[in-house]
Structure formats: structure tokens, C-alpha cells
Symmetry: C2
Subunit: 580 residues, 2 copies
Amino acid sequence: MKPIPGLFDKPPRPVRKATTPDGRTADAPKVLIVGGVAGGATAAARLRRLNEFAEIIIFERTGYVSYANCGLPYYVGGVITDKRDLTLQSPEGFAARYNVEVRVRSEVVRIDPAAHTVLVRDLESGREYTEDYDKLLLSPGARAVVPNVKGADGERVFTLRTVEDTLRVSERAKAAGAERAVVVGGGFIGLEAAENLARLGIKVTLLQRGKQLLPTLDADMAALIAEALAAGGVDVRYGVHTSEFREDSGVTVVTDCGEFPCDVALIATGVAPESDLALACGLETGIRGAIVTDEFMNTSDPDIFAAGDAVQTEELVTREPVNITLAGPANRQGRIAADNICGRFDVYRGSQGTSIIGLFGLTAASTGLTEKTAAKYGIRYLKTITLSPSHATYYPGAEEMFIKLLFTPDAGKLLGAQIVGKSGVDKRIDVLAVALRAGMDVSDLTALELAYAPPFSSAKDPVNVAGYVAENVLNGLVKQFHAEDLPEICDRNDIIMLDVRTRREYDAGHFSRSTNIPLDELRKNIDYLNKSVPIYVNCRSGTRSYIACRILTAHGFECYNLAGGTAFASHLYPELLKKR
Amino acid sequence: MKPIPGLFDKPPRPVRKATTPDGRTADAPKVLIVGGVAGGATAAARLRRLNEFAEIIIFERTGYVSYANCGLPYYVGGVITDKRDLTLQSPEGFAARYNVEVRVRSEVVRIDPAAHTVLVRDLESGREYTEDYDKLLLSPGARAVVPNVKGADGERVFTLRTVEDTLRVSERAKAAGAERAVVVGGGFIGLEAAENLARLGIKVTLLQRGKQLLPTLDADMAALIAEALAAGGVDVRYGVHTSEFREDSGVTVVTDCGEFPCDVALIATGVAPESDLALACGLETGIRGAIVTDEFMNTSDPDIFAAGDAVQTEELVTREPVNITLAGPANRQGRIAADNICGRFDVYRGSQGTSIIGLFGLTAASTGLTEKTAAKYGIRYLKTITLSPSHATYYPGAEEMFIKLLFTPDAGKLLGAQIVGKSGVDKRIDVLAVALRAGMDVSDLTALELAYAPPFSSAKDPVNVAGYVAENVLNGLVKQFHAEDLPEICDRNDIIMLDVRTRREYDAGHFSRSTNIPLDELRKNIDYLNKSVPIYVNCRSGTRSYIACRILTAHGFECYNLAGGTAFASHLYPELLKKR
């Protein structure tokens, strides 16, 4: 919807003033905040710290303020045991510490930007009243999107957005006799819910409409977490369309792939910006209906700001409009809105969508563009896959992680990264998130001086190694092929597939047409290879095969290195790896 | 020593050539490498990957090549149990994989830069011979510095630099009846050795010449690790000068603070560049006698390169000359030297000294400048101390860490960081190491979008929080005072010391002159405070007292916030905190 012409074509209205205890005249704006969780709560606290004399009122539709949205699934699973831990601040606490009034179970139902008022409904009494403002901050968040199918609004069908939702799911899942759960949707919330329901000993089936879990990752990286879910006892079904939630003794989830009876049915098919209020009062909205904000978190009305899951900001790399529903950006935006409301210049510098999830001991994380988003924006890229230990292998406890880098084909500028592994993933994604924000290229990654002692990393950190490999690809020291090329390559008979692992590794599973020459024997056997056909080389991780490619290149061969090796390919195409 | 005039005033000599198997003419330099550990081993492998036809020979004085220098203390402690894990590559492995010849127990005793030859001594046979080169890489490392006192070279007095050293210490420490150890020196090696000896059940006394451990940290941060050592059973003595190692039934370490009899005496009083060879042949040397290199890792001779603990490079922030003895930079420099030897342009971009140590469950890390080094270089700075949990506190297992930031007083440009805590320290120092390298300011730290889910971080990561606090200080939102000011401030009677913690916290220990008004009661009690005197506010971490300072400032008070709160101060000055 386009903004109403002329309506917001005006300067901000002057705010009210107060006389301070020491006799000065100071701004004392009356600020209303719609939504008291991440963005709203942060903004309120920052507003107070910046202006002791402002009047600040938070309206929160649920019964809880400043609650730990991201902790909710873990309460279901009993990892967080105390309900009180789910809220970081109470209305009473807000009043005592920040002199901020919190009105819970209060819904703002209309905004009148011209009059600078909102209409509030007290959800307990049903009473409606008007409240005026100097500045309004919208942080209404996002609502769970529920499929438009029969029974989706049933009493035994749940979503997981609020503390109230969580208490209901938790009660149901912990009830005597609860044995089976169906989770519809394989994004963050669906996966965390599945893990936590499984923690309770419940048999979980996860129904995913698409062909991969965790759409924030590319399919090849997401394939790595599917195994962890299976090992954790979660039955994942792909390409499933749900058509009905039928209440019987429990709930039966009816789909095009059969019926799934269960005791707990949870819908986690995504969220959508809560922008109805903004839309209705004529504020500009953008993609997914999100409230359009500028870098000051100002909406199209100079006296209305917005923050959090409901807003449209800019994607860091492409500067394309984006609606990011993550707690970090929400908090940051709330603080920036508060700064600008108080006349302090502060800008939001764009979202990179850094996210992370822990699942059955595995961690998956990403930042910046994926292949999917790069394709969507029409951005060309190169990619590398590296496999590195979380710390020096000679020190006990190292776990391997796959790092996927996307970078521009010319300057090697970092575009995005994805990592999956058991340990140290959070550290490396954060390092790459900073590198991405700093505009670094892959060569800059090689120069990073990261902290090394054997329990923490290797002298060449996994991020350095990823940078080295990407630099080698960029500089043409090695040509690659990728796991997704394997089905076609394994069928070609005009090439050589060369496996440079040890005989023992080869025997445990190899591409059926591949020849085995262990790397350390390559030089003395090189004359047996046919120089007139391309050689597709693999090892377990891509390291030995890279060395092999360098030897082969020096001898005049045309050769390609399998990025990520069989270790990566085996997750995508286990069927291509035959045992001897 | 200045370089010999004119000697190195020449272009590089052309390298020898080879005809490749496919009939091309290619560079085939003969490259000699002095020292086969981090820098030398990395260089050899990279050289081979870049040039299949080069002749590459490594000379290594010890019996082991490519050994895990940083793992040695952990072998003593039994964390690493297999001796084979201490070497990452063997001479045979180097030959098979890289066609690199490794000559162990071979010492290069002289370089003739004009003739392009070295004189090598076979330490087994005593035979000396000449080997010529096109390019020479010096990566001799650093040697343990042993105090010039009687008995320091005794058979039962050890250092810990080589695999041979390690096997000797380990054998001695694990011998029947070994009960007591004395470690002289409290740097990285001394502390890691102390921890690992303690792991064996040995009673360890650590003698430190100065007043603090771990001189790479500032004294206030180092104070945090002293407690962990004490809790781990290590008896640390400061200001101790050792005058003799006396052999008796064991060894008695004689000092100006008494005699310390023990079964194992270990000297870890630092290392010095092994630059005698370079010095003797006229190469330019610099601080600490290190071999001067340019950004290509080229020495003052165009055909001699150098890498690792023996070289002088530039400090990242100040561009001052620096000699850094860390594995990460050594590996990086080796690779860069190899690139340039092969005619590939690659530059070393300066050292920031990022380092980390784990001790009895505590981690201490730093990057960039400390207060000490900033003072040495005459650089003005501001500093902040923040206390943050490693992840969301509502998710089990969060541990607090102290983050100290140094930044410029004008633009807020990051100068350095130090962190001490039990968990998540390695991640945050790496994030800050990247930020420092990217030239970020403290406001950039607030904008970092780091990965958040409850098991991994908070919506506002500790690094974001450190940035926020630093930004508030920089922007004048709050004035600070520091723990080191406390002895003076606690004695002043022209100020108010205000403790805004809860009554219960206050009663458990507070500054003797401080008044307690819990933060949530401050507004209603504010009129009781005397507006004509400055107020020094504290809480546990500095967060509540910051809010208090904002309230007080709005009411016209002059006030100062204790950076890091009592949590930080209690480590430095426990005696200032009285119980009720």
C-alpha cells in the first residue's frame, strides 16, 4: 500500500517540555510503545536512560512483557525449568527501575497520525480509550502464520510465539499419556520445538512442505542437519502438504502423504509482520507487508518509529529491502529508534541475517547471502566448502565443521557464509559476520589474526583456511567441481575420476567409476594417467585432492577438485558412494 | 647491527630452471629452509604446492619436524597422551607427500649470502658440508631465555621449547616420588606448564619476578587469573628473584624470598629470537635482535626470507616494529614468504598479538594494545570494563566474562581488548580481533550482527554491550572511575560513594564509606542526596550504577560510574570491600 499522499508530508511536531528539578527546561516527550518484547522493551529502557522526564507507556497485548521469545521452545523441553526465567523484566520491574508504565493485555487497535493519538482496548475489560503521544514506536513483532486449512485453529493445535502459547504446549506435551507430536514446518521454531519435544521422550514427526529443512541455509548445508534430526529420533517428511487438523481422541494431521495421529500438533510454518495497524493508518509498507523504515527507524510519519520483526530494513550486502525476524536486529533497532526519538543521531546500518540453531549437538549457522538469495538478487558468486577441526587435532575433543563461503568472482568480496558442525560453529560464524560487515574479501580472511591455543583453535583457524581455499580458487590455482555436479559427473565416461585417499578409505566407500591412487603415491604413478582427458579428483575433505590437483596441473593435466570432498558429498548423495 | 653496506644492495639472483614433463620451461628454484616447525614447515608445503619442480630442503636442529609447539605442555599434563600426536608431519611424510627433503639433527651454522651457500653441521656425525641455494628461508624460531644464574644449565633444570625438552620434563614429572615442582616465570609457557604439572598431582610453586602474571595482559585483568591458579593449587609468589638452582637429592631453587626444594624445576622466563645466524652474515636485525623483514617477509638480502618467532614485523595499530612469538603469525608469514619466493605477490599486514590461554577452567585472551603498550607508544586512550554472560542467562550454563576495551578518546577507534572468563572468551576475542583489524570504532561494535540463540549468546552479545558502554563513555553520557582509583577515592571525605545494589548485596560486602540506595529506590530518595558534592556510584557490574548515573545527571548531580563494578574491583582490592 502506498502512503496516503500529503498526510505525512510534514515536519515532526514539537514535543512537550518539562522543568527539571534543577530548574532547566527539557524535552519531556510522551512516548507510546506498541509491543513490549525485544524492540519495544529495549527502546523503553534506552528512552528512560536518555530522558528522565519523558512519559513512557508500553502497550503489550499478551500478559507478559520483555519475554524471552527465543527461550520458549526450551521451556517446552524442560531445559529452562522456571517459568519466571522466561521474562527478563516484569511490569512492576519496569516501573520501579525505569519509571516506565507497562499496560499488559492492552491492544492498540487504531492509530490516528494526524491527531497523534492511539485507540487502546483493554483486553480484560473490553474498554476502549484514547491515548495521545508526541512520539509513537511500533514494535508489534510478527504473528505466527497458520495454514488456511480446516482445524488449524483448533484447541489442540498450537503455535509457539508467546509465553501463553508456550505454557499451553508445555502442559499438553507433559500431560500423562502424551506420546506423539507432529510439528508442521522445519524452520527455526519448528526444529527447536521438535528437538525439545523429543527431549521429553515424545516421538516427533516433522512435516516439511519443501525439500529441505531450515530454508535460511542452502539445501546442501541443510542436508547435514537432517541426519542429526534422524539420529535424535525425529521423523522428518519432505514435500508434505497438510490439508486438515482433525480432532479425535487427540489430533490427526491429515496430509497428501497420509495421516499422522498425535497428542500435540504444533504449527511452525513461519511468521508475518504484524503491520495491520500501520497499514490501516496509512504508513508505508513494503515487502511481506512490513513497515517501511529509514536508517533512523523512522516510518513514513516523522513522529512514528518502528523496530523489530514488523519492519522493513535494508539487507547489508545488496541494500535490497528485507524483513528480518531476529532478536538481535530487533533490540538494536529499538535502541536506535529511542536514540532518534531523543534527538540523538543514530543509524541502523542494515541486516545481514546472522542466525544460528543448535540441534541434537549439532550447530548450524549462517550470515549474509546464500546461493538462493544471491540468485534471487541476480548476484554472481563463487563458492567453497572446507572441512576444518574446531581446534588443534592433537588436543582432545576437536570436532569437524563444514564452512561454505560465497564471494564475488572478481574481487573475492565476501557475500555470505554458512557453517554446520558440532563445536566452535558459533565462533566462526561470528568472525565471518564481522568480516562481512567490514566488507572484507577472502584474502582478508587469510590475514585475520585469531586467538590460538590448542584447546581453542588451530594455528590456521578454520576461517583462515576457508580464506586460503577461496583465494586459491579465485586466483586460479585450482579449479573445483561441486557435490551437486556429481550425479552427472559420475555418469560421464569421457573423464577420469581420481580418488587420492588411502586404499582403506577408498574401500570403505567411493564413487563407482573412480580410480584410487593415494596422494603419496601419485607422483610415481602419474605417467599411468591419460593426459588427454579431464581428471576429477576427490579425497575426504578436499585438501589432499587439492595437493593432487597442483601436482597434476604442473604435469599439464586438466583437473578439478571436489569441494568439501566425500565428507560433504556423502550427506547429499550417499547412494553414489559404493563400498568395495 | 646495521647491515654490511653494499652487500645486499643488489637485485635477486635468477633462479635455476627445469623442463617440465610436458616440455615447458619453468622456474625450479633450490630453496633451503632453516627450521622445520611452524613457519618453515608451512612454507615448505606451500612452496611445493606452488612449484612442483623446486628443490626444497628443510634443516631442523632437533630430531622432530613440524611439531606441535603449543601442545607440548599438554603432553606433560597427560592431556595429550600419544607422543606421536606432538608431530604433525614426519620427515618421511614430508618426502612422500611434498617431495620435500627434511634433514633433522642438522644445524645450519653459517650463511654466505654472496656465494648463496650455507654451511650445515650434521649433529649426529659432526660432519660439516656446504649446500647452495637460490632462495633461503630462515625460520629458526626463538630459544628459551635462561637466567644467568648458577645451576640454570643443570641436568634437572628444564625448559620447554622442543619435543626433546618435553619428553625429559614429562619423564621427570611422572617419575615415582615426584611431588613438587617449581616453575620460574608466569608467562604463557610457565602458566600452562604449572597447570599441567598440577594435573599430575604435583604441588607447584610458580615464581614470578614481576608483580603480575601473564604480562600480555594489564595487571587488572591478570589479577583475575591469579585466583584461578590459587584455586587450582598453584602457589604463586611475586617479586621473586632466583639466584641459583642447586642440585641436591632433587633441585632447590634459591631466591631472595627463600629456598624452594623440588623434584622438577622448569625455567619459563621468556624466549628470544634465534637470530645469531642472520646477524653473523650481516642481515639487518632490529628489536630484541629479531631479523628485520619487509611486508613480503624478505630480509635485507633479496634472496633470503624469514618467518616466525625470529622476525621483526610491524604492530598492526601503531605500525611500530614488533617481535611476536605466536604460532598463527609464524604460519602465516611462512606461507607469505613461500608465495613471494615463487613470485606470487603476497604481503604480511602486521601483527596484533592476539593470544589466549586456558587455565583451570578460566580463559584469558587479548588482542591489540594494552594500557601498558599504549603507554609505551605514547598513545592516548579511553577504557571500559564490562561484565557479560556468555549466553542468555535464562538458558542454563551461562558464565560471566570481563571485557576490557581500549579505544581512542576522539573517534573511539578500537585499540585493543582483553577478556577473562570461563566460557565464550575465545569467541569474543576473535570477534574483537577482526574488528580491530578492520579498523572499527566502538560504534561499529554496537552494529555487529552476531549469531544469537539462547545456548550461544544474548540478543545483545557481550561485544555489542562493550560497544554500547564505550559509546556512552565516548559520547559523555556517563563519566567513569576505575578500580585503580578506589584506594584514593575510598579515603576522600569530600564526595559521596553511592552503592545502588540491593540491601542484601550491600551487606555481603561494600566500600566502607559507601551509602546504600538500591537503584529501584533511587528516584524517591534522590532529594536526600547532597547535590553539591560529586557522587561515585557503584553496583556489581556497572550496569545499574550507569542507570543511576543517568538519573542523577538528569537531576543535576555530578556523578561517576565505577567501571566493572564491585565484581571487577573485588579482584584487585578485596580488602576495600567490608562486610556489614
